[in-house]
Symmetry: C2
Subunit: 423 residues, 2 copies
Amino acid sequence: MTTERTNRLGVPGVAGPGEDERAAGASSGLDRWLAATVARRLGSAPIGISLWDGSAFGSDDRDAVRIRLADRGALWGLALNPEMNFGDFYSAGRLMVDGDLVRLIDLAYGSLARPGRRWNLASLIAHLASRAPSLSRAKRNIHHHYDIGNDFYALWLDREGLQYTCAYYPSAEATLEQAQVAKMDHVCRKLCLKADERVVETGCGWGGFAIFMAKRYGTRVRAFNISKEQIAYATEWAAREGVDDKVEFVLDDYRNATGRCDVFVSIGMLEHAGRRNYPTLGRLIDRCLEPNGRGLIHSIGRDRKARLNPWIARRIFPGSYPPTLREMMDIFEPNGLSVLDVENLRPHYARTLRHWLERFEQNAARVREMYDASFERAWRLYLSGSVAAFDHGTLQLFQVLFARSGKNPLPETRAHQYSRTGY
Amino acid sequence: MTTERTNRLGVPGVAGPGEDERAAGASSGLDRWLAATVARRLGSAPIGISLWDGSAFGSDDRDAVRIRLADRGALWGLALNPEMNFGDFYSAGRLMVDGDLVRLIDLAYGSLARPGRRWNLASLIAHLASRAPSLSRAKRNIHHHYDIGNDFYALWLDREGLQYTCAYYPSAEATLEQAQVAKMDHVCRKLCLKADERVVETGCGWGGFAIFMAKRYGTRVRAFNISKEQIAYATEWAAREGVDDKVEFVLDDYRNATGRCDVFVSIGMLEHAGRRNYPTLGRLIDRCLEPNGRGLIHSIGRDRKARLNPWIARRIFPGSYPPTLREMMDIFEPNGLSVLDVENLRPHYARTLRHWLERFEQNAARVREMYDASFERAWRLYLSGSVAAFDHGTLQLFQVLFARSGKNPLPETRAHQYSRTGY
């Protein structure tokens, strides 16, 4: 066995070529029985499985996607806890995929979605409960994901707004850059943003949207984020764009936000906030928002309550939880807020992720060079799995527009959201 | 005391001129103390109260709205259970309002909304719980409201679609007729209705929307309603319009609906369905809807859970319950349905109700002639109270568009809803 080390994501990596070393000996009868069992669990999906000695199971269709297992540990690990180990072994290069990774995950979703068909009990037990992260835990969680390095994200995010959230495609032909600008504009149109209005933004990423609002709409923005690297980047960027008098980036938890605002906006933060913090977020909005204020929350969500895939939860997004609309109501209902408009942008996130994946692949060598091969594979799996999750409807993307109960701060129809001349 | 009779709504009516007969004698010290107490509960709202002997309490502003009480029973009844008795005494002509009724109710809402300020305990106890009506109860409830007589509704509803639900005003200048046609078209655009598609409509009223879909979009509609009078009207109307080959009106409870459909639509029925029937409704949709089907539910709702005003619940809409969005999720979540779009049309319902109230007033003499003065007053109060409830945000109007989880039967943006050229 080779000695393993873990990479920045905590994914077990490989020390060297590895694969061949582990693949000692022929498969046993027991190995082959297990492989056949795993293959049977996939039903009629065109997925094949082959072992380190070349023995093959499952579909032998010409266009089947093939999972190659490099050693006995990978086979047994996959059988016992596929949801966790598929990702770890793929990242480690002990599980390889011949064919399209997105398609494989899509096929697996289809296979698992059928009632009564579950990989196994262990995959259900490996449940990572959603807990409201404490302030220090929230910081650790965000650090895990976002402080990997601004350079890494710059390789595959859009060049316009550095948006690490769902874009909005006015047409299927839009580029990633166009779609991210359209997303920012779509949000501003929904909110009917006006010059000199005060905006509070929680979870501002690299600051692209705050800067966009200041430049395009002339608003004043206080933007919160607990990622040091992102705040540093954002502050410098705002200065470069000449809007540092309009935008203030605050390195602090959103729960510590103070002051009044006309508009509250949060794009892609709620998924990381933890479900038990929703009432707190609602009270914060109630505390900050002027009587005629309005707000928008943009978040990954669910059609029905479910746990996040444990591998994503452990390796990629610790502490994250995509809520149902029902769960999101904990923000609005107790705090005198009225939901005005909900838009589900699910297909747009699948498109966005395909664009990210494409650019990621174009820069794969660079990623490997900056980190290592296991990091590169982990990230490929995460992006591919996310494409499949949004395609398949496992995940949704909700934009929820709201105002105080009984107030009319916005036009009575949504036509202005789609008018060329604006509102 | 005059002998009282009750009118069709169960509202105690008056046998003759009545008012003067009851107003015997001067008010006592106790009467005046009680009137002053009731007035104090209204806080600083410009509302005055005067008794049968002319003694006055509360605001004496020139533009105050004045409540005149005709007898001692009305005063004590109002003090003990205002939410129920205000309506009954107003209908009976024992409580009169000098000034604008909508404004009075609006002021009372404002006064009651302040924390710690409640009319009294009795008004809270008079809670009519929302129960899932049984099939026979549902029929009685609907009969109570809708079988009053088609002629009555024809006096003040729009002449185009006979729509007894919230209209959609593309602009503030739209007439009621234009706004009801726009509403029907807005729903069809959201659903991207196509010729020859099969639609199931539950709660079809007088059939206006079913006929609209058949005529304008060429769809085939099966429309359910448990009101005999409405179904008879609808069937005849469809024949007159020459679409009786396209539209089938079924006198049956929606829960008995069978067959498959491309589109499921329900406008203004959910409020009458009873909360405990939502899972049943969801299963019905799941049973009927084709894999690439889509649906829309249009319903009065709430920002937060509350009981309906007990007078409305008893006299006007027995068994009705306006749900929160959270409660509506009982329809979608357990049945593999994905919410695509929610629009809150609250201000549109306030406009619609103002239009109805205006026409109702124009036809008040005719209503009195057809029924009696107490019926006329009860209906005026109901329409006025509803204007105030939607203005004030006590009630909402949600249109919820949905499809099966993970399916994409509709365009990825909502631009087609607002395009002149359609979809």
